[in-house]
């Protein structure tokens, strides 16, 4: 059985997802025992990655590089860099439904490029009796769980929200159906946004599509069919937070929940960093730590 991680990375005019993917893959190599990685990207992002980091580093970070094609006809999404800066840019990360077909592994962890693997908890999933594992509980840097109700359900009276940030799956018939369903929801996104009453922003959101697909393949019930990853709560830093430094495997953040209310955090467990620019600012330090 082959096991490994799969990361999608498609640069847009503002955000260097390629460099984030390099950080993510090198941290996987550094902290995990099972650490094969596959990158799914497009030619222009790959060329940029090689120019930025050298071909040698890219091949050290990734065991498989899968070049694909993506639709460039996507809507812009607003990305925040702390409270004080925002920019709109195309959101190309919409082909996760192809992951099952693209993955070179029998067991795969699909992982966001902006997820920093700082502990070894993901070593515990391989050979699982589960077909799929995904988190539905999140905490922010202040260990707050209730983020206005948004973290629990896709709308006030909606179904449970699962987070597509980290998804473990095996190549089974059930998972094949699941990814097929995600593709179908993507093709009919407006319809499902009305049916499931989730906020239909102009861009496609993977978390919503996965949540609806999981609900559908579980016979439209909320029975406990989908198990959580080993650590049940997915920690994340919001787009208002700033990753200010990275020292010896510790990520240092400043969070600002309300204006002027600054908190410093040291994190040495896995964390989803939503402020993409802040990863870019410390990428060289992460790469330097993780590649030695």
């Amino acid at each position: 059985m082959t096991c490994g991680f799969l990361i999608h990375a498609y640069n847009n005019r503002e955000i260097d997802y390629g460099s984030m993917a390099v950080c993510c893959a090198l941290l996987i190599k550094k902290h995990l025992t099972v650490n094969s990685t596959a990158l799914v990207t497009v030619q222009d992002t790959y060329t940029h990655m090689v120019n930025m980091h050298s071909e040698e580093l890219i091949h050290h970070a990734f065991d498989h590089i899968i070049l694909t094609d993506i639709s460039r006809n996507v809507a812009d999404r607003t990305f925040f860099d702390t409270r004080y800066n925002r920019k709109a840019a195309p959101y190309y990360n919409t082909n996760r439904s192809d992951t099952l077909a693209l993955s070179p592994f029998d067991e795969t962890i699909l992982i966001d490029a902006d997820y920093l693997v700082l502990d070894n908890s993901l070593d515990k999933v391989w050979g699982s009796v589960e077909d799929i594992m995904v988190n539905k509980s999140v905490i922010d840097l202040n260990h707050v769980q209730n983020l206005g109700g948004f973290d629990k359900r896709i709308s006030l009276l909606g179904i449970e929200l699962y987070w597509a940030t980290v998804v473990y799956f095996k190549k089974t018939a059930l998972v094949d159906s699941l990814f097929g369903m995600v593709q179908y929801i993507k093709d009919n996104y407006q319809y499902y946004s009305k049916l499931y009453n989730f906020p239909s922003s102009s861009y496609f959101r993977n978390d919503y599509a996965l949540s609806v697909a999981l609900h559908m393949i579980n016979a439209h019930t909320e029975m406990k069919h989908v198990s959580s990853l080993p650590i049940q709560q997915l920690m994340f830093s919001t787009e208002n937070d700033d990753l200010i430094d990275f020292v010896n495997g510790n990520a240092f953040f400043i969070s600002e929940r309300s204006q002027g209310d600054f908190r410093l955090h040291k994190v040495n467990t896995n964390v989803h960093v939503m402020n993409k620019w802040s990863i870019g600012r410390v990428a060289s330090r992460i790469i330097s730590y993780a590649s030695c």
């Binding site: 999933v125 050979g127 198990s227 650590i231 430094d245 908190r263 410093l264 040495n268």
Partner: protein
Amino acid sequence: MDERLQKALDASNFRLNLLNTKENIKLKVETMTTIAVNGGIFKSSRELVTFTKLIIDKGHNSVVLLDENENPIEILDLLKFHNDLLDCYFSATNYYNTEYSKLKKARSSADQFSELSADKNT
């Protein structure tokens, strides 16, 4: 602002930082006490350690246990499983103790985040 109020707010902020750091340490401890066996995921708790010891003392060396996701998992070598639970429990609690001792000594945010200060000074 009144000096007393300012002092109280500073103390409150510092305390909140301490509590957040403690929660981060506890999260790390949770990752350290998680073990995988035969496709199941278990957390090394005092209850599980005691329960496995009880079964071993009854003369069994294999057992079916429910894991964190309530799947039945067959443990074929119960003694090894028990020892693994103990190892990761002690590693995790020792780590917690070390980090907690550092935290107790911290008198300011600069003490609390000393790695960051040290890095900035180099």
